[in-house]
Symmetry: C2
Subunit: 346 residues, 2 copies
Amino acid sequence: MARAAGVSIKTVSNVVNDYPYVRASTRERVLQAIADLDYHPNLSARGLRSGKTGVIGLAIPELRQNYFAELADSIIRAAGEYDLDVLIDQTGPTRRGEMAVLSGTRLRRTDGIIFSPERLGPEDIPLLRVAFPLVLLGERIFGGPTDHITMHNVESARAGTEHLIGIGRRRIAVIGADPHSTDATGSASLRLRGYRAALAAAGLPYDPALIRPAAPWHRENGAAAMRRLLEERPDFDAAFTLNDTLGLGALRALGEAGVHVPDDVAVLGFDNIDEDRFSVPSLSSVEPGREQIAKVAVDVMVARIKEKGDVQPPRQFLADYRIVARESTGFREPSLPSDAIGPLRE
Amino acid sequence: MARAAGVSIKTVSNVVNDYPYVRASTRERVLQAIADLDYHPNLSARGLRSGKTGVIGLAIPELRQNYFAELADSIIRAAGEYDLDVLIDQTGPTRRGEMAVLSGTRLRRTDGIIFSPERLGPEDIPLLRVAFPLVLLGERIFGGPTDHITMHNVESARAGTEHLIGIGRRRIAVIGADPHSTDATGSASLRLRGYRAALAAAGLPYDPALIRPAAPWHRENGAAAMRRLLEERPDFDAAFTLNDTLGLGALRALGEAGVHVPDDVAVLGFDNIDEDRFSVPSLSSVEPGREQIAKVAVDVMVARIKEKGDVQPPRQFLADYRIVARESTGFREPSLPSDAIGPLRE
DNA sequence: GTGAAAGCGCTAACAG
DNA sequence: CTGTTAGCGCTTTCAC
């Protein structure tokens, strides 16, 4: 310990913690000793004393889904701004895995958890009353007791559908939603609602036979759904796949079937993952504001961690979205520069 | 604290730590109290006392490179078997970022670091003498003082090249290596060496003009390198891209140019990422044994963390590889089931 | 401005 | 088998 070594005693702590009332010369001396001895404060001890770990948890379904890898990347960068480390928990594709996050048995060494659930729904709101700061991502659970960062699912899906209508498509299939689902809050339902709104506004009929479930939203399921669609009802001229991996799988199936994209069938995805720009053809997509979401999630988390006794009411944020038109809907370049990211609306 | 609550005193610690000499009835009582009170040991306190954090660090260039996301996924799963959490540090594309890992200033709350460097080389061996358990992934640094899990870069690249030769290709381009590089230990150099060995064994000439650098190994750089190749020397019938993202970029460029894969040009990648199965055409690849690598890396790390005074000499492991033939080299199905993963050779 | 002392919750060493 | 005691290294009063 630098105490004896330097010269002074636990003024070290003051210096390390930027306590202002330390004489400049003393501070200087301590800093020098710290450097000389290559001293590093013991973080476990600090954690024990302060009750904080300096780590936030990120609970996502799976890192190998590109969207979540990109989200994790963004969250880690955002957390780094606050000198926070990020512990990643993969909940897997089950409700059980997601409930485990809320039980507090996982991700114990964290000051709070940023959680992107895929299975939990409004019926799980009681579970959200947890003893640690919890920031929810996505839109499965509205009106809960936690902070919540969400996307414009309905509006952006509507805009996406309008993009397809705008290039002359009239029979637009949807892959990734169950037309008979009773779930009203999942991303699938919300995006489907946006789709229907666009159809209605354009005076186009809604045909449930064009709506195809595919879960989880993996490439293989997008490919499988598209194959079935092609077999059963080849009379569609566009597909709105509710995420990009579904869309990439669908492109694959269309390619195998010799269907030309976008001439025969246009395809629009959702998430705007890196890969979209390099598929053949490149995949048009809805950019949901991932960078913003990550940044705001971390900001909100930090505020909650700092919070003393006076607990603020839960807040909700909505990220900006935009449509990125590429070859799969007949364009060559993104319609907007990819760094067009503004502040988040509350 | 459950002490007062239950009935007994710090027998709790014994119970929690599975100390064997506790009467069954006592243990039972304590366990009950723990459950009743929803007691959780304070991990910071335990960490302070034991000197361990229960967390391992994973330092990789970037999570949004699919290979590293999949690697992180595998490492997190493997670490979960030991109840270890994983903290991810993204070093970025710079030497500086990688050196920061070794300086010990990052990833401080961990018991050890699994590190996959991309920039460091043999000249950095002195830096590897660090005060914490360090397990190296990849092959940039041989003969260092740390445990090291590596791939059969030379052999697998040779086998991959032989695969291309086996389907009748004679002028095989390489994307991702600099023919004039003096680096002898990077993945690129090693894989290039395997390529040359295969050429030599088949009596084929080596043409440096077919070897194209592309760094970092991102899709856009694979696409750019392929475009240049097509402009400058269209007389090649195959491309061995030194990772899959380069390969996917190359497929994209070939598609744009109207070159048919595999009839005109066959393409082989490296890493066997999930995406390979869904590109159009699907991408043949070298499977480098990622699952094995992750599992062994964690096993070795755990052994190092447990190690007392008697330090074992550093160990080196080699993962198994295999060629997965898909459409880009004229096949339809993987040549081997993807779960054919054996034990790791030392 | 700086020093002394207490204690965060746990584990380990030692008695009993 | 179980209780007592002493720190792990830090932050935080509270004196001086």
